[in-house]
């Protein structure tokens, strides 16, 4: 009896959580399949309407902005490139930094670690003027490199990799050394495969971070060709409600693809190690 009660309670809590996540999304999705005038008169809808293809086709391919140079699909592409670049670069850089901090013990490695860690206190928003200056001096305004590079050193990812590497037993390195692995081989043959799960987690984390950027791309792009998702929501699809719903749903797709794809690896890794 008490078991059934317990299951009922825990499941209702879980179901509430699921609903909390799903309901707003469904509402936006269902509303995005109606015509604009219908939504304008009737408010947001629970049921799916008949305008799905029209709406999605229009939003994806209509040129927007002042110069009509960019479409929503172009915006998603830009953001995907930016987020992907930030995620892969920052995972790579953080792994290398953590590797050197943990395995190449110099007298100052702890100091270096704390210096890196302290940069958490100076987010991009705080150093946006010098960052802009540097990127502009390097002639990287209005380019993918300019969007990606200033955001691709992550103290938090370095911290996580460092903690993970420190948990790897020292004997593993020693055994590998006796087996003739040099530092590079140890990194590629051991640390990379062993930290697969950590890589997946950090990649997701940094991808979402990159995808959600607003201020940096807003400041450093003057050409509409380089607009990103959050800017697009503000600039192109600010007015018409149905277009906005459609845009929101579409903008979810790139991160969802990444998460679905990496989640497998993530879970697989979790089970493998036990």
């Amino acid at each position: 009896m008490s078991r059934i009660f317990r299951i009922t309670v825990s499941h209702s809590i879980l179901i509430c959580g699921v609903l909390l996540m799903i309901v707003p999304l469904w509402l936006v999705f269902a509303s995005s399949t109606h015509s604009n005038s219908f939504i304008y008169n009737e408010g947001m809808q629970w049921k799916i309407g008949g305008e799905f293809f029209d709406n999605y086709d229009r939003v994806l391919n209509r040129k927007g902005g002042f110069t009509k140079e960019i479409t929503a699909s172009g915006i998603f592409y830009n953001s995907f490139i930016m987020a992907f670049g930030i995620a892969s670069l920052s995972v790579f850089v953080s792994m290398m930094a953590a590797y050197s901090l943990v395995y190449f013990k110099t007298r100052f490695s702890t100091l270096f670690f704390w210096l890196i860690f302290v940069t958490l206190l100076v987010p991009l928003e705080l150093r946006i003027l010098p960052s802009y200056q540097i990127v502009s001096d390097l002639n990287l305004l209005n380019s993918y490199a300019g969007l990606i590079l200033p955001l691709s050193a992550s103290a938090i990812a370095t911290f996580f990799f460092r903690q993970y590497y420190r948990s790897i037993p020292e004997e593993l390195l020693e055994a590998a050394k006796l087996d003739g692995a040099n530092s590079w081989k140890f990194f590629i043959d051991f640390l990379v495969p062993l930290s697969k799960t950590m890589i997946a987690a950090m990649f997701i984390f940094m991808f979402v971070y990159g995808y959600n950027q607003y201020l940096w791309p807003l400041i450093m792009t003057t050409s509409e060709k380089y607009w990103t998702v959050v800017m697009g929501l503000k600039m192109i699809y600010g007015g018409n409600s149905v277009d906005r719903y459609t845009y929101v749903i579409l903008s979810l797709i790139p991160p969802v693809i990444i998460i679905v794809f990496l989640q497998r690896l993530f879970i697989q890794g979790l089970f493998q190690s036990k």
């Binding site: 037993p169 593993l172 020693e174 050394k177 006796l178 087996d179 003739g180 051991f190 190690s273 036990k274």
Partner: protein
């Protein structure tokens, strides 16, 4: 012929701790040398210096007539079995064995042949495609051995490889290691703090204390003629009995008893040591103890008791003893089997 030679090897850590102090030792080809000592005595450090995992502060290590002080661990041609095996968790057994060979640049066919040979030898063929996480402790131990063997090194180094196994398995693996080592005839160094392992495995033992080798010799030599007080105390269970006293006119005199000495020793303060099995009950024995505790181990009984000057002594008797706690018994020394140590230098005198 000396094959692995340590010449005044010293290790001083950056913080000034002296882990190994001017240690010299030569190990001949095919010999199994055991480093035994309490934890923190420097035995593992010494082994790791041979492996190249610790820098050598002073002295020289030679393997097969080549000084290897500055040689990279992978080029030293030694293989090591670690305490926790240090198997590569993300590689299956085959890849674990093949990794070292692959790094040496051997061909695929060659690697496959060697790995299969070793897998056959160690009976791990059926596990080749499993990962270390799916193996039992004993199987992991075999894989760790296999990884050492497959490289066909000049020396095996074992760093307490049996301490993670349960008692029964430990006994089995010990015998297997001994057999394999003899069969392959590879010079080996085995580090342990377990004296049973040391006694049963070693061709010779090096008893190490505080970074210094106290004695090198065959297990029986070390047991029967411990060179120092430390060795006498460390080797043997139950421990040797010690009684403080002095030598006067070739007689050992303590508060408890006297006994004439069969060898000329000058008059001085000494420690008199006697193993439990060299005592026997005798009606007119000179050592009288009041029994405190009796351990019946089946084949032996170990009897502990206090003598008049409150030394805690123990003696070993066969089988199911009739002696009871709180009984007074007299013991005498069998066949003049005793050990004398200088109280100052702790060195053996007889």
């Amino acid at each position: 012929m000396s094959y692995l030679e340590l010449d005044n090897v010293t290790k001083i850590y950056p913080n000034g701790t002296k882990a190994v102090n001017e240690t010299s030792l030569s190990i001949s080809e095919g010999e199994l040398m055991v480093f035994v000592g309490p934890s923190g005595c420097g035995k593992s450090t010494l082994l790791r210096m041979i492996a190249g995992l610790e820098d050598i502060t002073g002295g020289e290590i030679k393997l097969d007539n080549r000084v290897i002080n500055k040689v990279d661990p992978s080029e030293r041609d030694v293989a090591m079995v670690f305490q926790n095996y240090a198997l590569y968790p993300h590689m299956n057994v085959y890849k674990n064995l093949a990794y070292g060979l692959k790094n040496k640049g051997e061909s695929k066919e060659e690697i496959e042949k060697k790995v299969n040979e070793v897998a056959e030898l160690l009976e791990i063929k059926e596990f080749l495609l499993r990962k270390p996480g799916q193996l039992s402790g004993g199987q992991r131990q075999r894989v760790a051995m296999g990884r050492a063997i497959v490289r066909n090194p000049k020396a095996f180094l074992f760093d307490e490889p049996l301490s993670n196994l349960d008692a029964k398995l430990r006994g089995q693996v010990r015998i297997e290691i001994k057999k394999l080592q003899k069969q392959m005839g590879v010079t080996s160094v085995f580090v342990t703090h377990d004296q049973v392992e040391a006694m049963t495995l070693g061709d010779r033992l090096a008893v190490i204390n505080e970074g210094v080798i106290e004695q090198v010799g065959s297990p029986i030599e070390v047991y029967e003629k411990p060179a120092t007080y430390f060795v006498a105390e460390f080797i043997g269970t139950p421990q040797m009995n010690f009684i403080n006293g002095k030598i006067h006119a070739n007689k050992f005199i303590s508060d408890e008893f006297e006994c004439s000495i069969n060898k000329d020793v000058k008059d001085q303060e000494v420690i008199f040591g006697i193993r439990p099995e060299n005592l026997k009950v005798s009606a007119n024995g000179s050592i009288k103890i009041k029994v405190d505790l009796i351990e019946k181990l089946g084949a032996d009984s170990i009897i502990y008791g206090y003598d008049k000057s409150n030394n805690y002594l123990c003696y070993r008797e066969n089988g199911n003893t009739k002696i009871k706690a709180n009984e007074e018994i007299s013991l005498e020394i069998e066949d003049e089997n005793y050990h004398l140590f200088d109280q100052e230098t702790k060195k053996r005198l007889n």
